[in-house]
């Protein structure tokens, strides 16, 4: 990009040429002040507030009352819908994450070569990542339409009678998994960037040792890519726990709560039923689940993520 001098030192600072200028000691705070204020007001404050709200019963009309752990107890023992939303989200995540990671990596490997016109495909595959929103959710709602939808028309050509995707408790979730895979483009771009970082010498050395393309993939590409794969895996899991817009537009949680996702239920609890405390408790469980998953993966990652240069240190 612009420059290579990432490691250059700054002699002027070392010499404290401007050391007399007290201003320079505090001006840094002024530069970051907007972020710092915003962080306290819109991130840290609300984050802690939702923790306290989760112990309160409040509907915005009557004053809040303290209920202790009651919401947490209700969630896990007395609210089948909550359990359902949790199970649905886990079901989606378990299929969505491996699928989209493998597809993105596979396409990135395909595109990571010099063939004329290959850049067009990179752009093309990235496209659904930028159009993700209500419009494409409506598009997919129609693609899965039982009678006139694109998918059933297509599989009808080979004589298969497609299911009523979004109207069936069995097929609604697979429909969401299919739709979400369409958005692999942003992961693919990350993988393409990562593939550029794999030193060529490693491939050349492997070729001298008589490695096949498959050997090189398994023993060079994947290990060298493992930090990027690990990072994207964590981010994709976090993202898939927060699926909302597609569910709100395509099925509204139906049929029979088959696609009632976690955030959809949280949204309804908070903003339709004004169960502020209960929804806050849900938000905190979500936070704890995501935190736990991230920590577990961090722990497991030592077994499979390879950081080049670590051995040298």
């Amino acid at each position: 990009m612009t420059s290579q001098s990432q490691t250059a030192v700054r002699p002027a600072e070392k010499a404290s040429f401007f050391g007399w200028w007290r201003w320079r000691r505090i001006e840094g705070y002024l530069f970051i002040a907007p972020w710092l204020i915003g962080f306290v007001a819109f991130v840290l404050g609300p984050f802690l507030a939702s923790f306290f709200l989760s112990f309160a019963d409040w509907n915005l009309v009557r004053p809040p009352s303290w209920v202790g752990l009651e919401h947490y107890r209700t969630m896990f023992t007395n609210d089948p819908k909550y359990i359902k939303s949790f199970v649905n989200t886990v079901y989606f995540t378990v299929f969505h994450v491996p699928l989209i990671l493998v597809v993105a990596l596979f396409i990135a490997l395909l595109l990571n070569r010099q063939l004329p016109g290959i850049g067009v495909f990179r752009t093309l595959f990235y496209l659904p990542s930028v159009t993700a929103g209500v419009a494409t959710a409506i598009l997919w709602r129609f693609i899965f339409n039982y009678h006139y939808g694109l998918l059933n028309q297509a599989i009808g050509l080979v004589g298969i009678d497609g299911p009523n995707w979004l109207g069936s408790t069995k097929w609604a979730m697979p429909a969401f998994i299919i739709m979400s895979t369409w958005g692999f483009g942003s992961l693919m771009v990350l993988y393409l960037a990562g593939l550029q970082g794999v030193p060529r010498e490693l491939y050349e050395a492997a070729e001298i040792d008589g490695a096949t393309a498959w050997d090189k993939l398994l023993n060079v590409t994947i290990p060298m890519m493992s930090p990027v794969i690990f990072f994207t895996m964590i981010m994709t899991i976090i993202g898939s726990f927060q699926i909302f817009t597609a569910a709100f537009v395509m099925t509204e949680g139906g049929p029979a709560d088959a696609t009632l996702f976690y955030i959809l239920y949280l949204y309804r609890s908070a903003f339709q039923w004004l169960r502020i405390g209960y929804a806050s408790a849900m938000a905190w469980i979500l936070f704890l689940v995501i935190l736990a998953l991230t920590l577990i993966q961090l722990k497991l990652s030592r077994r499979w993520v390879f950081y080049a240069g670590e051995e040298l240190a």
Binding site: G28, P46, I107, R113, T136, W182, A283
Partner: protein
């Protein structure tokens, strides 16, 4: 573009070498096969978009015919006019454009200032605050959603654009990180030279760092545009009055209306129309989207 430099070497040496040997023929066949695979994949991948546009130009009976004709018999541009004017889409378009532009402006300003602070100034606790910034990226948005709503509700900002625009002026952790990483790649000598010439930090920020960081600022602009244009949950929570909706919210409302009549062609026309600005921005700025992910230093 960087991505093109690496990759397989087989195709380059192929034609220049004298005679055809089996490994070369095999490499050629392999590339042809890959090509076919990529093109086929691309077509399958693009079909939903093509079908979306095609459907938006059909009549309802055409859509309901089985098997469905691939292309419309007569192209009905009229669908777009009917869909667009059946609800105040023009109004929603300007609402969305306004929110998006303010968000871009606010994000660029606040994030570049903070990034400059983290990259170029020294103060006590800088590293600690930077770690805080990084860890705040891991906090799920929904954990702070409810209290944030309560704050804006308390301020009487419900049904205004303020909850959807004001936070942009307080920075976004990811973009601050992205810009800081980019700022650190600029030559430090510039900073020193400017100081000797009597520039203060604000001058350096505005006259040197910002102009040199156009690629990174373009990436932030592109990402912010998409996030803001596609945002659904925010407007859903904060906007109530019909005239104040955004396109994504209005489109959802249009869906409810069309459920009754089953006018799928109009539904598709409205959806395509809301995507057009995104497509325009994407095709002009696609480079910046791709660069944006590499600026964060994920390459290594």
């Amino acid at each position: 573009m960087e991505v093109e430099q690496g990759a397989v070497r087989s195709s380059g040496s192929l034609l220049s070498s004298p005679g055809w040997r089996w490994p070369q023929v095999r490499a050629l066949l392999f590339n042809a096969f890959l090509y076919l695979l990529i093109v086929a994949g691309g077509i399958v991948f693009l079909i939903p978009f093509v079908w979306m546009v095609s459907t938006s130009l059909k009549t309802l009976p055409e859509i309901q015919r089985i098997p469905q004709p691939l292309l419309p018999e007569v192209i009905r541009w009229d669908n777009y006019y009917v869909a667009w004017t059946s609800l105040p889409f023009t109004r929603w378009f300007f609402n969305t454009a306004f929110i998006t532009v303010v968000n871009i402006f606010g994000t660029l300003l606040s994030c570049s200032l903070a990034a400059y602070g983290f990259a170029y100034t020294r103060f006590r606790g800088r590293n600690f605050l930077f770690v805080i910034l990084l860890s705040s990226m891991m906090l799920p948005y929904h954990v702070r959603l409810i209290p944030t709503f309560l704050i804006f509700n308390h301020l009487g900002w419900i049904n205004t654009f303020l909850p959807l625009t004001v936070p942009a002026f307080f920075g976004t952790a990811f973009y601050i990180f992205l810009l800081r990483q980019f700022f650190l790649t600029l030559p430090k000598e510039l900073d020193d030279a400017a100081r000797i010439d009597g520039c203060n930090s604000l001058n350096i920020y505005w006259r040197i760092v910002m102009p040199l960081s156009k690629p990174a600022l373009a990436a932030v602009t592109a990402f912010t545009f998409i996030d803001s244009w596609n945002d659904f949950l925010g407007p859903l929570i904060y906007l109530r009055q019909d005239s104040r909706l955004t396109l994504s919210l209005g489109l959802r409302m249009f869906l409810d209306f069309q459920e009754g009549t089953g006018d799928l062609h109009l539904m598709m026309a409205a959806s395509v129309a809301t995507l057009i600005p995104i497509l325009i921005v994407f095709f002009f700025a696609q480079k910046h989207f791709v660069e944006g992910v590499t600026f964060t230093g994920l390459k290594g």
